[in-house]
């Protein structure tokens, strides 16, 4: 540990997450497939970063590695200058599949990670986050009785309830209809502005990335490398028909190699 501290140049004080020269190779049936190659990224405390790339490019793999569910084949991932070596309640992963527990009520789900608190404290947290994500009146409902958007909000509430420093969101709104998706983006931004968690958000939707993120990390097809990091220098709330918005969005379209015409 001491050796590490001496040999590494201390990063800027506000760095939350750092990914250094990370590579990942999957081995299956004796064949090895490179998924990630030489990924370098620093994320500041409280920053909202979108990982953007085509489906199957490896962005979810990178997110899983950041969250500690996978360990990289090479390179290093650190949070608060500590190596990530497993999932941690300070960093909650919101799953692409519906990760809420269907056998627990809304209350039970939100309280799931709060087993160390006293009963009163737990109930207080639960009430707070039920209100925050607008699930009042559904406290005793089970997830199968909720709509897709409500389930997604429930999962976000469950994550926020343990007061993590970081949230990893893996295409959280991918399964929602387009109207609910827009509403949910607004909700997420509202929550982020209130709580200032560091958020890493994986998406393949260029508009979504430009609407939400402080910075958009554009990734290539597999094996994924970082093609470009785009600063989105528009304050919230963002006007999605402003020139700057369209400029940034179209720039990313070009970067990915898509003609912006159908």
């Amino acid at each position: 540990m001491a050796l590490l501290k001496e040999s590494v140049v201390a990063p800027a004080p506000k760095t939350k997450l750092s990914v250094e020269k990370v590579g990942m190779t999957f081995k299956r049936d004796g064949k090895s497939t490179p998924v990630l190659e030489n990924i370098n990224l620093e994320v500041a405390d409280g920053e909202f970063v979108c990982l953007l790339g085509p489906s199957g490019c490896g962005k979810t793999t990178l997110l899983n590695a950041m969250a500690g569910f996978l360990s990289p084949t090479s390179g290093r991932i650190q949070v608060d200058n500590e190596a990530v070596n497993g999932p941690d309640p300070r960093r909650i992963f919101v799953f692409q599949e519906r990760g809420v527990f269907p056998w627990l009520t809304v209350e039970g789900n939100i309280g799931f990670g709060l087993f160390k608190l006293s009963r009163a404290e737990r109930q207080q947290r639960i009430d707070h986050y039920i209100k925050m994500v607008g699930l009042q009146g559904f406290e005793k409902a089970y997830p199968p009785e909720l709509s897709g958007g409500m389930k997604q909000r429930l999962e976000v509430a469950r994550a926020l309830a343990v007061n993590p420093d970081m949230l990893f969101l893996d295409e959280p709104f991918g399964a929602l209809d387009s109207i609910t998706r827009l509403v949910m983006r607004g909700e997420l931004l509202r929550i982020w502005e209130a709580e200032r968690k560091t958020i890493i958000f994986v998406t393949h939707d260029i508009d979504e990335a430009v609407q939400l993120a402080d910075r958009v990390v554009v990734m290539s097809a597999r094996p994924a490398t970082i093609q470009q990091i785009v600063n989105i220098d528009i304050p919230h709330p963002r006007d999605i028909s402003s020139t700057r918005y369209l400029e940034l969005r179209d720039g990313i379209f070009k970067q990915i190699g898509l003609a912006h015409k159908i």
Binding site: R91, F95, W103, L104, F112, Y142
Partner: protein, 252 residues
């Protein structure tokens, strides 16, 4: 409307009983007793205090054989299903034993335990063990990784992970397996009692025929077996309606 829908099967059963009664009365050779005769048979059993005694005897054997099998097969199956290597090791043995009817074990059961309750319980145990083992293995295998990962993410230790994530995730499938297996156990007990013991509903059927061709008692035994089987199934089915289990049975 609702009442009508509910009455429909009852009306149908009543019609069948009437047809059966008419057909039974008109038969020239005695092939089957009519429902009225069967009712008389059941009344006879009640009068002699045999109905309750035999039902209790059969249920007693099923309960023990089934419970023992569940207590052993479910933890074992969940463990095997969780560890893929264990599953690969166990699977061939399970697949060889599975097609052997529990009834094929009757001679061995009698050799080991003699004629009596233990032999019957052993047979029910055998008939329940493999289906429950297979159910538990498949339930453990199909726990979505996302639940386990979420549990780990919130900092659950191994014990909590099993108790708060793994266990609730497998329960719905286990209940289905238990319900189907209880049906199998109920089939096995009748067969086992025909050979291995001197009481119970299976014994009643064989005994009624051997001791004087009392076919009214034979059919009475069959009817009672059917009714109790139905009640057992309804009891297990009601578990599937428990709210925290119900998610496992609907598509959405």
């Amino acid at each position: 409307m609702n009442l009508r829908v509910r009455l429909r099967p009852l009306v149908f059963i009543a019609a069948l009983l009437v047809i059966w009664e008419i057909a039974a009365r008109r038969q020239s050779v005695h092939l089957l007793p009519g429902p009225w005769g069967v009712v008389g048979g059941i009344a006879d059993l009640v009068r002699h205090g045999l109905l309750l005694k035999y039902v209790v005897a059969s249920l007693f054997r099923v309960t023990w054989g089934f419970l023992l099998a569940a207590l052993l097969a479910i933890p074992l199956g969940l463990t095997i299903g969780w560890y893929r290597r264990a599953e690969m090791a166990f699977n061939p043995i399970v697949q060889i034993l599975r097609p052997i009817s529990p009834l094929a074990w009757i001679p061995i059961a009698i050799l080991w335990f003699g004629v009596g309750d233990l032999a019957a319980i052993f047979l029910i145990f055998l008939g329940s063990f493999l289906p429950l083992l297979l159910t538990a293995m498949s339930a453990a295998r199909s726990v979505p990784a996302v639940y386990v990962n979420a549990g780990r993410n919130f900092g659950l230790g191994p014990a909590r992970l099993v108790y708060q994530v793994f266990y609730p995730a497998v329960v719905p499938q286990l209940i289905v397996g238990l319900r189907i297996t209880l049906g199998v156990a109920w089939l096995v007990v009748v067969a086992a009692e025909m050979i291995a013991v001197n009481s119970g509903l299976g014994f009643l059927i064989v005994d009624a025929r051997n001791a004087g061709n009392r076919y009214d008692l034979v059919v009475a035994g069959m009817v009672i077996i059917g009714v109790i089987g139905l009640l057992l199934d309804m009891g297990m089915r009601s578990l599937e309606r428990v709210k925290s289990f119900r998610w496992g049975y609907s598509e959405d």
